[in-house]
Symmetry: C2
Subunit: 467 residues, 2 copies
Amino acid sequence: MLEAHLIAELTKIVGPENITTSRQDMICYGYDATQMEFLPDAVLHPANAFEVSEVLKLANLRRFPVFPRGAGSGFTGGSLPKGGGVVLVTTRMNRILRIDQENLIAEVEPGVVTEQFQLAVEKLGFFYPPDPASLKFSTLGGNVAENAGGPRCVKYGVTRDFVMGLEVVLPTGEIIRTGGETYKAVVGYDLTRLLCGSEGTLGVITKIIFKILPFPDAKKTMLTIFDSIDGAAKAVSTIIGNKIIPTTLEFMDYATLQCVERRFNLGIPAEGRAVLLIEVDGDRDLIEKQAAMIHDLIKPLGLVQFRAARDAAESEELWRVRRLVSPSLRDINPTKYNEDVVVPRSKVPEIIRTIEKIQQKYDIPIVNFGHAGDGNIHVNIMVDKEVPGMDEKAHEAIREVFQAALDLNGTMSGEHGVGLSKAPYIELELSPQQIGAMKAIKAALDPNNILNPGKMFPWKGTPDHAA
Amino acid sequence: MLEAHLIAELTKIVGPENITTSRQDMICYGYDATQMEFLPDAVLHPANAFEVSEVLKLANLRRFPVFPRGAGSGFTGGSLPKGGGVVLVTTRMNRILRIDQENLIAEVEPGVVTEQFQLAVEKLGFFYPPDPASLKFSTLGGNVAENAGGPRCVKYGVTRDFVMGLEVVLPTGEIIRTGGETYKAVVGYDLTRLLCGSEGTLGVITKIIFKILPFPDAKKTMLTIFDSIDGAAKAVSTIIGNKIIPTTLEFMDYATLQCVERRFNLGIPAEGRAVLLIEVDGDRDLIEKQAAMIHDLIKPLGLVQFRAARDAAESEELWRVRRLVSPSLRDINPTKYNEDVVVPRSKVPEIIRTIEKIQQKYDIPIVNFGHAGDGNIHVNIMVDKEVPGMDEKAHEAIREVFQAALDLNGTMSGEHGVGLSKAPYIELELSPQQIGAMKAIKAALDPNNILNPGKMFPWKGTPDHAA
């Protein structure tokens, strides 16, 4: 519990209308998409880097933990105040500061919602490609802190590839700039990209300079259904092997297909075992040529359906299949553990087959879909917590899924990060020496372990936090 | 001086044929492209990460500095053994370990020469775009350590954008892997990109996993000459503003043009004040369309010559103008200080005009060319050291050039890094807080300041190295 005099000092920093300690507010800021819940002692809404800096200086002086939070849409509990302390919400810092059309850069505050930013640049003819599923509510600060991905990353890269510079408040309260307005910049260490994906443990992001692109002329969406996983996977490597890098290569397995079909009756052919939703974008003539090439290339691979959208409305219709996945999953079981392993693209059929075996072993429904173009599979373990023992079995299954991805030279997470929920597994992926180097960096920048403690690494014992 | 027993211990690690202390070898490994010279005490050629690790463990135990070195083609003294110690040369680790055509990745050792790697992947139909000017002799390990760039980066990105994973020996001797074989990977801090551009101060790279691309179908080269700098700069933003991202947008100013023309008589029109060498690549039809569009777009901007290559031979002929720049510069003065400032693309005319003023103020010839697409200008200050006072004036001019780039929201270096030669200026660009964070990371990973000491930061006093 934070003592009253600390609440008073925090109130002085952010103003009385930007701090709350009421129980209902604590509940609102103590959960995220994992559905875990930990109540903070206070929630702050600072206005700028200066206020964030003052909060962090006080936190170092008085030794209380600070948990930065955007929209709380994370999938690993990365923003949750486990152990109590102060939640620092960035959503008041929500201005798009400038869009520099000549240099193709934009500067924003961290609380801007991803989609709002995309729409703002699109209105001017530009493009910000990263498209995490949560883009309608996730914030750009959170996207940078987690290095968010999305379907379009196979062609355009992840959030990291668009971050040119940051304003960051270090855990000890110093306000620094990293990177800048030029894409080429090699003076000093690349703190920008160290911060990217550091899950709020190394600094609070208060400004972001993004690279933006010209908006593509046109796009072409294709819904393709194969009679086997291998056919769909082979399609991915065949397309890329033929020098076409699609914007998206979204994959759905048989279990996903069945789920969507049962609920929505889309008329998916009975022999369909895997879907690839393919989109290409760019020059209008080129994408028509590419679509034709793609059709020719994948025809021999067990293609049972090929539908190409002729306009935006038809494209939306094809994307509907993908969008209906999440709502239909809950028909299976109420709780979804959404893991996001990655394997080298060619290993997708192998990981899917291994996951099928894990599913049989533990007798738990698992549904797989995701970004086949970069081998990033969302493995959804569907659990009914009312069934005794099912949750425990699910966690054993998750560990086996992680291990399977690692055995194929993959990773436990391509988009969601580690946070709280994957911290117990991190030693499966990282060696003690790797973790040692990372913890040394954390300790160097956050000697009192103030900022988002307990995340990412399996911390032995409780961090020393005396408020 | 390293004591004899240390030489004996080092000899045990790498074998007698892979260590030398002879004076001529010390000279060979004590210089780089800066023409500075510092003699080491010994030069080692380790075979693998294990030997590198043993060397670094010994260095920590006995406290002697270790300077990693690839081909020594750096422009800032980054590999030079200032103060003496051991030079650790990576060139024996020169195998291309695998090229995984299905997953578009390649694993190499750090001593592979950049061009050799490019040719090896090209033979299989793939593409490794980063193309620093030194690519015929620079090594990939050095490219990663310096985050090397080149003309093609405007479209494809810098070395960092192609590094997926590393094997690194930390300064204290631990061998770790960073990143991996998947492009999306967010478990733990991004050590891969922290290492990228860290100039050999945070680890010795012993393996690299690169992303590779399909080789573009075709390319089209255009030599365009404008009657003003502003016309050429406007051409850059007009082309990009019209959604064409060329592979290269190489720029040469009037001084450069005059230099080349005086020496080689290429028939450059008298009214020419700036050259843009433009190349587009990709689909064969698309690039023809783009070339025509480019011609239309830039015609009103003071275009005095437009030559488009019809085949590879003509393309080579056009590139010749660019390639003749370096050999013709020495006609002006024998010593070249090659700085590589970057400004936001739209500020290129302004920085060129400011540099003209600096040139007049100090009465020193300055020739500018470089990568206009990303605002990266190579500013060549041509000095005759025989002329009393000229070298001193040059250094004052360099400081003003740096400051001018920073005043335009640019950076002192887009490709070359800081090393020794820019360390005295780093406080112009980075705040004490930024430098503090960077030094904290350095100290966390290299507590005894063993690895490449004295680089990047202005170290007060002499590092404590007692052999």
